[in-house]
């Protein structure tokens, strides 16, 4: 077996003769380039190509949009939860005036009954003037409310633990304070819950659509980028590379591209949420911020939002890598 490329047989082309031949060929020959001993191998799939950069841009943009959608759903979901819990923490007792009874005494009695229930925190009875002020937006100012049977309101804030026995309180009020009724806002909460669930479901549907569009865009962009690499697949195939070797080379390369694009898009979306949070904090206390805060909370997507964006970036990178692998197999199918 031959051990080197310098033949010792008579008449053969030796290495030195080959050099002489090269000189005779009168082709342009560059100056010798000295290089240090090489350590790292050049990647078989080109790292920096126009198609690769375009793919990173597509992945970054689509990940950015998908992350915004996911973040928006997390915000709406959290805000809806806050609305529900805020309303559910408050209960009101309404005391309608009853002829022959002292309204102030009934209010004091109801307050005492409410305070006696464990799980009820703050109890605040609206004064007659405060109750009248609540009606002003509808009845106008300057009316003598003393002549009107204005109901009195008592606001109860629930401590949460232990859960208040509102059924028992309602029963006691019926027995001891005629004209009193307990409203735990159940109907309002049910409607609120329905609306919040609809908003979150709509958000998830939008996220699903955006993710589907993202996956399709990434798949088509990956296939387009792979088309420019077809000659590499062919050469590797012809020199005896196995399917697994070729697919792994491309999968590794496209996984890096997917992670790069996903990280750029995801980081951009997170930066936008952080900016919105900062702007919200900057305007804290203003009427506008109060309204926006009531609707969307603090614009903080929280740990679940960060995890969702991270999972999404990983998923999109995995889709990119898998698409490249499948495209390699499809290309090889056509060559065999």
């Amino acid at each position: 077996m031959r051990v080197g490329w310098c033949c010792t047989k008579a008449g053969c082309t030796t290495m030195n003769e080959a050099r002489a031949v090269n000189t005779e060929m009168s082709e342009p020959v560059a100056e010798p380039v000295s290089r240090p001993a090489r350590r790292a191998e050049t990647p078989i799939v080109p790292v920096d190509s126009i198609a690769g950069r375009a793919l990173v841009a597509v992945i970054a943009i689509m990940t950015f949009l998908a992350s915004l959608a996911v973040g928006a759903v997390v915000l709406v979901s959290a805000a809806a939860g806050e609305w529900q819990s805020a309303v559910a923490r408050e209960v009101t007792i309404q005391i309608r005036p009853v002829v022959g009874r002292d309204a102030e005494a009934d209010v004091a009695n109801a307050v005492a009954l409410a305070r006696a229930v464990s799980g009820v925190g703050e109890v605040r009875a609206y004064t007659k003037a405060e109750s009248a002020a609540l009606l002003e937006p509808w009845l106008g100012t300057g009316l003598a409310f003393d002549d009107l049977p204005v109901p009195r309101m008592i606001l109860l804030k629930l401590a949460g633990h232990p859960p208040a026995d509102l059924g028992g309180l309602r029963k006691m009020l019926l027995e001891r304070v005629p004209g009193a009724s307990l409203d735990d806002h159940r109907g309002w909460i049910d409607r609120m819950r329905g609306m919040a669930n609809s908003a979150v479901a709509l958000g998830f549907a939008i996220v699903a659509l955006v993710l589907t569009a993202t996956i399709l865009s990434v798949m088509f962009a990956t296939r387009a980028a792979m088309a420019t690499n077809r000659p590499i697949v062919e050469v590797l195939h012809f020199i005896g590379a196995r399917r697994g070797f070729i697919a792994t080379e491309f999968q590794r390369h496209f996984l890096v591209l997917g992670l790069k694009g996903g990280a750029i898009g995801g980081a951009g979306a997170l930066a936008l949420f952080a900016l919105a949070h900062l702007v919200g904090a900057w305007f804290r206390g203003t009427p506008g911020e109060d309204q926006i805060g009531a609707l969307f909370g603090t614009f903080s997507i929280g740990l679940s939002g960060y995890v969702a964006v991270f999972v999404q970036v990983m998923f999109i990178a995995a889709v990119t890598a898998l698409t490249s692998r499948l495209t390699v197999h499809r290309t090889l199918q056509g060559l065999e």
Binding site: M25, A30, E41, I239
Partner: protein, 219 residues
């Protein structure tokens, strides 16, 4: 080494481009494959390096019936065959060194295990000054020698060359032929597909002549 028995090939539903081919390629043999343009030389070469499967007949490579082999087994067989394409098919983003080393990387060898071997071969084919050049700056002759070096670096038992002198001047063609003859002397079977009669006249070897899809063997 290679045995064809009544092999026929057609693309899709078209007519047969190769018909009733029966021949053998022995160990350490040298043959030219020739014929007019469109006679089927490239198709026969593709059958020889298992890029195509015949539509009928038997093809045996290194003792294996290719119809019974898996795709990975065919890839392993392909490693015993070196191929020089007419259009070179060098990868433009890899240096001459990396292009030539590619078959060894595919075999899973580490760079430090083959560095000297690749350097030596590049000097042997006269590309010692072009080791770190990229293919786009190489001349036609240099590309051809790089392609030949890539085809022989893994020491194949069979070397196939498709019009290896088609893009070079007669002087260089003669020297490339000497290179193939030298590889043949070192134990490699050679098949050169060409329609360059002057080239074939320079070396007395078997001629496989394709004409209208049929093969005529002139020992």
């Amino acid at each position: 080494m290679v045995r064809f028995e009544n092999v026929g090939l057609r693309y899709g539903l078209g007519p047969e481009v190769l018909r009733d081919l029966s021949f053998r390629i022995d160990d350490n043999s040298f043959q030219f494959l020739t014929g007019p343009s469109g006679a089927g030389k490239s198709s026969l070469l593709r059958l020889l390096f298992v890029s195509l499967r015949p539509t009928r007949g038997l093809v045996t490579l290194f003792g294996h019936d290719i119809a019974t082999l898996t795709k990975d087994a065919l890839a392993t067989l392909r490693r015993r065959i070196g191929i020089v394409f007419q259009d070179f098919r060098l990868l433009d983003h890899l240096t001459t060194y990396d292009n030539v080393a590619l078959p060894l990387r595919v075999l899973g060898r580490r760079e430090d295990s083959y560095r000297e071997e690749v350097m030596e071969l590049l000097h042997w084919v006269g590309l010692g000054e072009r080791i770190w050049s990229l293919p786009p700056v190489l001349s036609g002759g240099e590309k051809q020698r790089a392609a030949i070096a890539r085809a022989v670096i893994a020491r194949p038992q069979l070397l196939l060359a498709d019009e290896p002198t088609g893009n070079v001047d007669p002087a260089l063609a003669q020297r490339l032929l000497r290179l193939f003859v030298e590889l043949h002397r070192s134990g490699t079977s050679i098949v050169i597909a060409t329609h360059d009669i002057a080239l074939m006249d320079q070396f007395d070897a078997r001629r496989l002549v394709l004409h209208q899809g049929r093969l005529h063997d002139y020992e």
